[in-house]
Amino acid sequence: MRTLEQTTQEVLDLAAKHFQLPAGTLAPEDDFFKKLGIDSLQTLEMLSRLENHFGIELPDYEVQGVSDFKTLAERIQSRL
C-alpha cells in the first residue's frame, strides 16, 4: 500500500510528464490550473491518466472544486 507521500509524488511526476515539464517542477501545494495554465477539460484528461496509473475510478464529483495536487492526491489515496 502506498503512503500519501508516495501517491503525491507519483501524481506530481505523472502530471509533469503529461504536460511535458521537467521532473521536480511541480509541488504538492501548486494550483494546477495556474501552474500548468490548463482549463477544466485538460484537467479531466490528466485525471484519466492518473486513473489508469493507479488502477482506480475517480468519479467527476470527487475532484469537483479541487485545484491543488495535494488534495487531488488525498482523493486518490482514499480510493486505493
Partner: protein, 570 residues
C-alpha cells in the same frame, strides 16, 4: 411534437408526452463504458409518479418550491417532472457552486424540498451555511451508500408512495422555475420563469431545430442551465426524443458516446467546442501528405456545395470518416453559454457539421437569436427567433447600441427584487446590457458589454460583486472588483478578465506580502472566478450616502488610466 398552444403548463405538456410516446426510449444513462439505464417514457412515468405521490403525501402543493442539485442524470429529470406534476416551482441550482453558495441560494429561493445526490449532500450537510436555510425542511438524497450517515436526509430511492398522485394544474402566468443567473455572495438574481416562457421558447426553438422520436440528444451542459433544461429535457420530451446522460464527462467517454449512441444533437460551451476543434485539427494534421491533400480537396468540395445551406447527406458521403467518428447521425452542434469565435464555427461548418450559434440569456428564456443556417454565417449570432422583438437602444452612428428584447419568453422578474426587475425590464423590454448591431441581412452581431460582468468560455457568468467577499478585510484602505472590459471597453466578447482595484493606506506599498495574501484569497475562488490582476488607485473611492461604492463613477475615473500599464499581474 405536441401542440403546445393547447397547454397551460410544462407539467401538463410533459404528462401528455409520457402517454403519447409511452413505448419510445426517453433516457439512456451511461457511466464510462457501462450503460446504467435505458428508460421508455412509460418507465419514466412509473419512476416519477410514486415520487410525486410521496411529495404530495408530505404536504408539497401548488406553488411550493423544490430545488435540485445534481449532476446530469435520469434522476434529475424524473425528480423535475414529479415536482412539475405536483404543481411545484422548480429551483435548479448549479452543482459546481460551493456548499455555502448553494445554501445561500436555497435560502433565497424559499425552497422547502431539496433533491440532491450523496456526494453533494456529504458536503452540504456539514457546511456552515446549513442552519441559515431553515426553509429546507425535507432533503432527498440519491445513491447514498448502505451505511451512510444521511444527516437528516431521506433516501430518494425509498421516498415513494403507492397510488396515483393528483395532477396539479398551473396557469401560463404562474412561475415554473426560479433560475439563478448570478448572485452568489452578492445580490441573488433569481429569474422567475413562467410556464408560458418555456412553452413559447420551446415552440420557437423547435421550429428551427426540430426533435422527433429516434432523435438522440447528448446532455453535457448542466441541466440547471437554461439551455440544457430546454433542449436536454423539455424540448426532446414533448417530441418523444431520447436524452443521453453521461455520468463521467472525460473527453474520451464523450467522444465514444457519439458513435455508440448515434447522437443527433449535442449542446456544448465554447471551451469544449474549441477543444474538439483542436483534437480534430491535430488528427487532420497527422494525416500522411497524400491523404491530407485528398482530404483538403474533399473539404473544398463540401464548402462549395454547402455554401447556401447545409446538405448533410452530401457532407456525410464526402467526409465519411469524420462523420462516422461522430456516429454518422449528428445533425447540429448547439453552442451556447458564451461567445464563440467565428473561426471555430467556420471550422465545423467546413467539415459538414453545422454549429447552431446563437445569443441569449436566462432572463429571456434562453435563446433570443439563432443562426438558421440559411445560409450559415460564422460572423453573427443569427436572426431573432420567431416571436422575439429585438431592438438596438441608443445606437451610435455605427449602429451599435444596447440590445433589448420583448417577447413571451422574457422572465416575470427577479425573485424579491422589484427594483432590480424595474431596472432590467423597462416597459416590457428586457435590457440585456450587451452591445450589438444588426447588419443589412438582419443578423445580430455582438460587439461588447455595457454591464460590469464577464462570461467565461465555460459559459459561466461572473459578476464582480459576487466575488468581493473573498477579499473582505484585506489590509488595504478600500478595494473593488471590476470586469476589465467594463472599465476599458473593447469590441470583443472573448478573453474577458476581472481586476481588483486597490486603494492602499497612506504610505503603504504594494509589496510581496500583500501580493501573496491576494493570491491566497484568490485561490479560494473557483478557478474561473479568479481575478487576473491588480490596479492601484491612490484616491478615495466615491461612495453613496449609504457608503456603497459608486461603481460607475469609479469606472469612469479608472478609464483614464492606460489599461496596459495599470493592470499589475498577480
Amino acid at each position: 411534437m405536441l401542440d403546445l398552444s393547447k397547454y397551460q403548463s410544462i407539467g401538463a405538456a410533459l404528462k401528455d408526452a409520457l402517454d403519447q410516446f409511452a413505448n419510445e426510449v426517453c433516457l439512456i444513462e451511461a457511466d464510462r463504458e457501462r450503460e446504467k439505464e435505458r428508460l421508455t417514457y412509460r418507465d419514466f412515468k412509473e419512476r416519477a409518479h410514486p415520487l410525486a405521490k410521496a411529495l404530495q403525501g408530505g404536504g408539497f402543493s401548488a406553488g411550493d418550491r423544490a430545488s435540485i442539485i445534481m449532476t446530469n442524470q435520469s434522476k434529475w429529470l424524473i425528480s423535475a417532472y414529479a415536482i412539475c406534476f405536483a404543481g411545484g416551482v422548480l429551483v435548479p441550482l448549479d452543482y459546481k457552486l460551493t456548499p455555502e453558495e448553494q445554501w445561500q441560494l436555497l435560502r433565497h429561493s424559499g425552497a422547502s424540498v431539496l433533491i440532491t445526490e450523496y456526494p453533494i449532500w456529504r458536503q452540504l450537510s456539514v457546511s456552515a451555511g446549513r442552519p441559515a436555510a431553515a426553509n429546507v425542511r425535507s432533503v432527498l438524497v440519491t445513491e447514498a451508500p448502505a451505511n451512510a450517515d444521511l444527516a437528516g436526509a431521506q433516501r430518494w430511492e425509498e421516498f415513494r408512495a403507492a397510488g396515483e398522485p393528483v395532477f396539479v394544474a398551473r396557469k401560463r402566468a404562474d412561475t415554473a422555475c426560479i433560475v439563478y443567473s448570478s448572485g452568489t455572495g452578492g445580490r441573488p438574481k433569481g429569474c422567475m420563469m413562467t410556464h408560458e416562457n418555456y412553452l413559447e421558447q420551446c415552440v420557437a426553438l423547435t421550429s428551427i431545430y426540430p426533435f422527433w422520436p429516434s432523435v438522440r440528444y447528448l446532455s453535457i451542459l448542466p441541466t440547471n442551465h437554461a439551455i440544457d433544461f430546454m433542449v436536454g429535457f423539455f424540448g426532446p420530451f414533448i417530441c418523444g426524443a431520447a436524452v443521453v446522460h453521461l455520468r463521467t464527462l472525460r473527453p474520451e467517454y464523450v467522444r465514444e458516446a457519439f458513435p455508440k449512441y448515434k447522437i443527433t444533437y449535442v449542446s456544448l460551451v465554447p471551451l469544449v467546442l474549441k477543444n474538439l476543434q483542436r483534437d480534430l485539427q491535430a488528427r487532420f494534421d497527422a494525416l500522411p501528405p497524400g491523404k491530407r491533400k485528398v482530404f483538403n480537396v474533399l473539404v473544398g468540395i463540401n464548402k462549395a456545395l454547402t455554401k447556401g445551406r447545409p446538405r448533410l447527406g452530401i457532407s456525410r458521403r464526402l467526409l465519411k470518416q469524420v462523420h462516422e467518428a461522430f456516429g454518422g447521425e449528428l445533425r447540429t452542434i448547439i453552442v451556447g453559454g458564451a461567445f464563440t469565435e467565428p473561426q471555430t464555427l467556420q471550422f465545423f461548418y467546413d467539415i459538414g457539421i453545422p454549429v447552431a450559434n446563437g445569443y441569449g440569456l436566462t432572463e429571456a428564456g434562453t435563446a433570443i437569436t439563432v443562426n438558421d443556417l440559411k445560409p450559415f454565417r460564422a460572423d453573427t449570432v443569427g436572426k431573432p427567433l420567431p416571436g422575439m422583438e429585438v431592438r438596438i437602444v441608443n445606437a451610435a452612428v455605427d449602429g451599435v447600441g444596447e440590445i433589448s428584447v420583448r417577447s413571451k419568453t422574457v422572465m416575470a422578474g427577479y425573485l424579491n427584487e422589484p427594483e432590480l426587475t424595474a431596472e432590467t425590464v423597462v416597459d416590457g423590454w428586457l435590457m440585456t446590457g450587451d452591445l450589438g448591431r444588426f447588419d443589412e441581412a438582419g443578423h445580430l452581431q455582438l460587439t461588447g458589454r455595457k454591464k460590469n460582468m464577464i462570461v467565461t468560455e465555460e459559459g459561466k457568468n461572473i459578476y464582480p460583486e459576487d466575488i468581493e467577499a473573498v477579499f473582505e478585510s484585506l489590509a488595504v484602505k478600500e478595494f473593488c472588483v471590476f470586469a476589465a472590459n467594463y472599465i476599458w471597453p473593447k469590441r470583443s466578447m472573448t478573453g474577458e478578465k476581472l481586476v481588483l482595484v486597490l486603494h492602499l493606506e497612506q504610505g503603504q506599498q504594494y509589496g510581496e506580502e500583500l501580493r501573496r495574501e491576494i493570491n491566497a484569497r484568490n485561490n479560494r475562488l473557483l478557478n474561473y472566478k479568479r481575478i487576473h490582476g491588480v490596479v492601484l488607485l491612490d484616491e478615495d473611492f466615491h461612495r453613496t450616502a449609504s457608503l456603497k461604492i459608486k461603481r460607475n463613477v469609479l469606472a469612469e475615473r479608472l478609464a483614464k488610466l492606460d489599461s496596459a500599464s495599470a493592470i499589475l499581474e498577480l
